[in-house]
Amino acid sequence: MQKILRVDMTTGNIVTEERKEYQFLGGRALSSRIIYDEVEPTSEPLGKKNKLVFATGLLSGTIASSASRLSIGGKSPLTNGIKEANSGGTAGARLSKLGIQAIVLEGKAKSEDCYLLIVKKGEFSLEKINSLKYEGTYRTSALLRKDYGNKAGIICVGPAGERGLRGAAIAVMDPHGELKFAARGGLGAIMGSKGLKAIVIDDTESELVEYKDKDKFNEIAKEFNKKLANDPKTKDIYHNFGTTGIVKAVNSMGALPTNGFRYGSSEHVENICGEKLNETILSRGGEGKLAVSCMDVCAIRCSTVYPDEMGNKIVSTLQYENIELLGSNLGMDNLDSVARLNYEINDLGLDTIETGCALGVALDMGYGKFGSEEDCMALVNEIKRDTIIGRMLGNGAKITGQVLGSERIPVGKGQGFPGYDPRALKGNGVTYGMSTMGGDHTAGNCFGSRNAVDPLGTENQGELSRKLQIQIGTLDCIGLCMFARGPLFAEPNVLADIVNYKAGTKFDSETIWSIAEETIKIEREFNVRSGVSPADDKLPEFLYDEKLEPTNAVF
């Protein structure tokens, strides 16, 4: 049976335990369940009573494509409710190969020291690593990679997390040494507040992944991998454009947040769209790359490496949300500016979505010009220099808007909106308001090209959001990437079988969704007990009466 690794940051004690009641839980189902069972809902998110859970998925460490995402959960310092963010990278698979189902981080270091948690086969230790205090995520992860080898799973926070900034993310290293982020909800601030700078996971000589029926699992997993690889969305869209293939579609719908959510389409769309990204990466060559995987086994390969004019890497990866919140939302007219901002924000260990929203609010209030990389970089440098203004911005869009006196703060339950304006994609508005995760692009995203619901209409939005919250939530609970949904939603019996052969569960095509239904129920209960009320389900007032050009939609 897989083990839970419990790390008490107050005492430095590390113990393992087996929890039979968690045996069939993975990903978000496991992280949310542990938070629900063990954290006082009214506790301070950055205090010693909150916990941070790193949970592996049900298929983690196997040959199934895109199935080793690491789920990280805690009580969010942004939403004040339960929060889960998941990431690619190698840490999830490494933990599973060590037979570890989850790491539960508890308490809080008593001193100002920062620590490194080292997890090896049968060996766990906490070491002081003050030489990395306030180091950026890139240098931190590169130094740890040098010390512990290219195959080590690495998780870290940047200075934003160490300073308790509520927009802080958690970085997870991928197989190529690039960083992916469990970005949403300020979970990096929880990790930093506990005094943990980084985790290194070394799974050398360990192969403790357990199967109910390995042969049948491998057979069905290979079939699934093949279907996913041959899906037109995978080979035609993700391999050529990453996740940015949707920029022009969202723009044409009038839902592309532009200039601080003032407009729904950008006049610069041709310069910041997926086609431009593809053309730029191919023409500049050098270190630029398309179709890069973020996990050991992934057919989707939606990551990219974006180069400068000389072919030198600026950032990996440039994704839709980054292009949106740091691009059109800030009035940018080119991808180079977006990439440079993206790099700096990643290095600080901040969520690009939250920070992009906060910067948009600041520009909207006159603290810089839309379209000026220089002005935006100056604000990012305030965060880097740890000034009062920087602390305001790093704490996210809500605090930034409140400090600056804005009436137009694009947040759902205190968390910055992702790259879809809810006035022109109303299903997402329902998700931002009603889901347990707040303004989140992964909690029930209603942008889908074959949806039968008019995104501007008011009918059936609740049903669509509810269905997607459950379906995508199910993938979160299994540890699957949401971009694997095509073949799995088409054949939910395959989804059920693949889980059953691995974990020994007895799901079918109907009951597989119950994993997420049960999880969302306990998340909602936790949120109610933490003080999140129905009033928090309401979206910001400006969305109800400020018409969004070009559709003139209101929520």
């Binding site: 037109p232 969305k233 035609d236 869209i237 050529n240 454009f241 996740t243 293939g245 949707i246 022009k248 579609a249 969202v250 044409s252 719908m253 009038g254 997926g274 086609e275 839709y320 879809y420 692009h441 992964t442 995203n445 209603c446 942008f447 889908g448 090209s449 074959r450 039968a452 008019d454 995104p455 501007l456 949401m482 971009f483 949904r485 095509g486 070009p550 559709t551």
Partner: protein
């Protein structure tokens, strides 16, 4: 005249990015995609005159149509 703009992989399928189709009154969506050489199964999203529109809409003179392949958000 109907203007049809193709995006992403649909351009490879039809060989051109933009089409102008002369019509007097209206035509079915299927007639329109027959003319431009796009398979219906490969279509994901239709934007007509700046608004999302169900596939199988009717196309009228002066309409501006944008077509996208299957896409998903995240």
């Amino acid at each position: 005249m109907v203007t049809v703009k193709l995006n992403l992989t649909l351009i490879n399928q039809s060989g051109d990015e933009e089409f102008r189709i002369d019509i007097e009154n209206s035509m079915s969506f299927e007639q329109m995609i027959d003319i431009i050489g796009i398979e219906k199964e490969s279509l994901g999203m239709v934007i007509k005159n700046g608004r999302w529109t169900p596939i199988d809409c009717t196309v009228e003179a002066n309409d501006k149509i944008e077509l996208f392949p299957h896409l998903e958000g995240g």
